[in-house]
């Protein structure tokens, strides 16, 4: 009887430890995700700057720029590869805006962005390539500024966000343990 009671307690302790570790791990993952969002935005910012210089100095087409970016060592390379592929495809009804939007939906990297950033990215793609050089540069610069501001905002709070995520993870673990055990 006493032995059975001990076993139950041991299982409870093991379960509590498991919950605590899992919740802390989830908190840690969210913290890392917040850090990765900055890396992703930073990479997008670099790509956009390259995009801008390709238009300003080489007047390259969107497809050529995307091909170039797909070969660059950037987190967004696969995304730009998808866009270049979509534009090159011999489909009857493809247009650059829809190709861009599909690439945003399909690519893993854009999953890191929050909904607002994703919407901005889609809007940016849908307006791309329809106007003269100055207007194109204006649009790209506007989006570069947007990503810069987002980066500033994220970087400012990143330490607190990471700490908060980790703390919330542990706290949630403790709370669930108390509730269950």
């Amino acid at each position: 009887m006493k032995k059975g009671c001990c076993q139950v307690t041991e299982i409870k302790i093991a379960g509590a430890a498991l919950i605590l570790v899992s919740a802390a791990a989830i908190g840690w993952v969210f913290g890392e995700r917040a850090k990765r969002e900055i890396k992703v935005l930073l990479s997008l910012n670099r790509c956009l700057m390259l995009f801008e210089s390709e238009i300003r100095y080489s007047m390259s087409t969107i497809k050529d720029i995307c091909v170039r970016l797909s070969e660059a060592d950037e987190l967004w390379s696969d995304f730009f590869g998808l866009v270049a592929e979509g534009i090159s495809a011999d489909s009857l009804n493809a247009d650059a805006g829809s190709v861009w939007e599909k690439a945003v939906e399909k690519s893993d990297i854009s999953e890191t962005l929050d909904d607002e950033d994703k919407a901005w990215l889609i809007r940016f793609g849908s307006e791309l390539g329809n106007s003269d050089r100055e207007s194109e540069l204006g649009k790209i610069n506007m989006y570069i500024d947007y990503t810069k501001n987002r980066l500033l905002c994220l970087e400012k709070n990143i330490n607190e966000r990471v700490r908060l995520c980790r703390l919330l993870g542990v706290t949630a673990g403790v709370f669930i343990t108390i509730l269950i055990v």
Binding site: I55, M59, S60, T61, I62, K63, D64, I87, D90, L92, N93, D95, A96, L128, G129, N130, S131, D132, R133, S135, E136
Partner: protein
């Protein structure tokens, strides 16, 4: 990719399906014309046809496919590779050269700034001119283009539009560059302001202009000639449609630098060249392509004094 694929890649939607359905012999296909709410017209073997909805060529206008504004808009976006800004200069000139060397003429509403065409918007008219190269069309003039030391003579091709000046120039460039029975291969520099000679696409000549040919594409002729002389040390410089004083100065500069020059000029015949003493002074051979009384192609060859040296079919 064959030539029909190259053309179909520019087209979109129903127009693409129709042209694929017609499957025309591209060597006889000359033009495809798109106008909004007008029949789709094809110029084939010198004759105009309507393209029907079922993908056939017909002379019956009632069976013709009516081109929509969307067809034109989508086709324009495809040929500009969804990057209108990258083709501003071409749009100012009124045409875009696409893969395969085909030239697409565009017309719409022009945007004027300081009296100059700044851009074009509302593109509503598209004319796809299928590129054609005529290998060997210069064979008969080649013996007349070299002196005793096998150096190329300064040569001017004169004819009205559509008589084949550029086609002749291209074949001469190819033969001079590759080398022929009359002289070994020479380094040729082509200044292709309107992308008509080499028809470069992404910097690569789509027409065969020979193995020793360097092309400076989309560059004003006078500037391009100077650049080529300084950078590529060509033996021969080829340039299309000279006319302005700056062009003539650049031709003279190239000649004094030891390059042979071969150029074309809009005109009706040798008489137009004789009216300009600078031209008569600079050039040693004059070629006048055109048509004889039976409508067959002919080339008249004149010497430096404007005397007929040969009249060839």
């Amino acid at each position: 990719m064959d030539k029909l694929d190259e053309i179909c890649r520019i087209l979109r939607g129903k127009v693409q399906i129709i042209i694929k359905g017609i499957n025309p012999d591209v060597s006889l296909l000359q033009e495809i014309r798109l106008r909004p709410v007008r029949p789709l017209i094809i110029k084939y073997n010198g004759k105009e046809y309507y393209a029907s909805k079922s993908g056939r060529m017909t002379e019956n206008i009632n069976a013709a496919y009516i081109v929509s504004e969307n067809d034109i808009r989508d086709t324009f976006h495809t040929l500009s590779e969804f990057s209108t800004y990258a083709f501003e200069e071409e749009m100012r000139q009124g045409y875009i050269t696409v893969a395969g060397g085909h030239r697409v003429g565009i017309a719409g509403k022009t945007v004027i700034e300081n009296g100059r065409v700044k851009n074009m918007k509302h593109i509503s008219f598209i004319n796809i001119r299928v590129a054609s190269e005529v290998y060997g069309c210069a064979n008969r003039v080649m013996p007349y283009l070299f002196d005793g030391s096998k150096n190329m003579l300064h040569t001017l091709i004169i004819s009205p539009p559509g008589a084949g000046k550029t086609t002749l120039l291209r074949d001469i460039v190819r033969q001079v560059s590759d080398g022929s029975f009359f002289a070994g291969g020479k380094n040729v520099g082509v200044v292709d302001e309107r992308s008509e000679i080499a028809a470069c696409y992404h910097g690569v000549p789509q027409n065969d202009v020979g193995i020793r040919t360097d092309v400076i594409d989309g560059c004003p002729k006078a500037v391009g000639m100077m650049m080529l002389v300084r950078s590529m040390s060509p033996d021969v410089i080829a340039v299309d449609e000279i006319g302005t004083k700056e062009d003539m100065d650049a031709v003279f500069y190239a000649m004094t630098c030891g390059c042979s020059v071969i150029a074309t000029l809009h005109g009706n015949g040798i008489e137009d060249a004789k009216k300009n003493r600078h031209i008569m002074y600079l050039f040693k051979r004059f070629l006048v392509p055109g048509f004889d009384k039976n409508g067959k192609r002919s080339i008249e060859i004149y010497d430096e004094k404007g005397m007929l040296s040969g009249d060839r079919d």
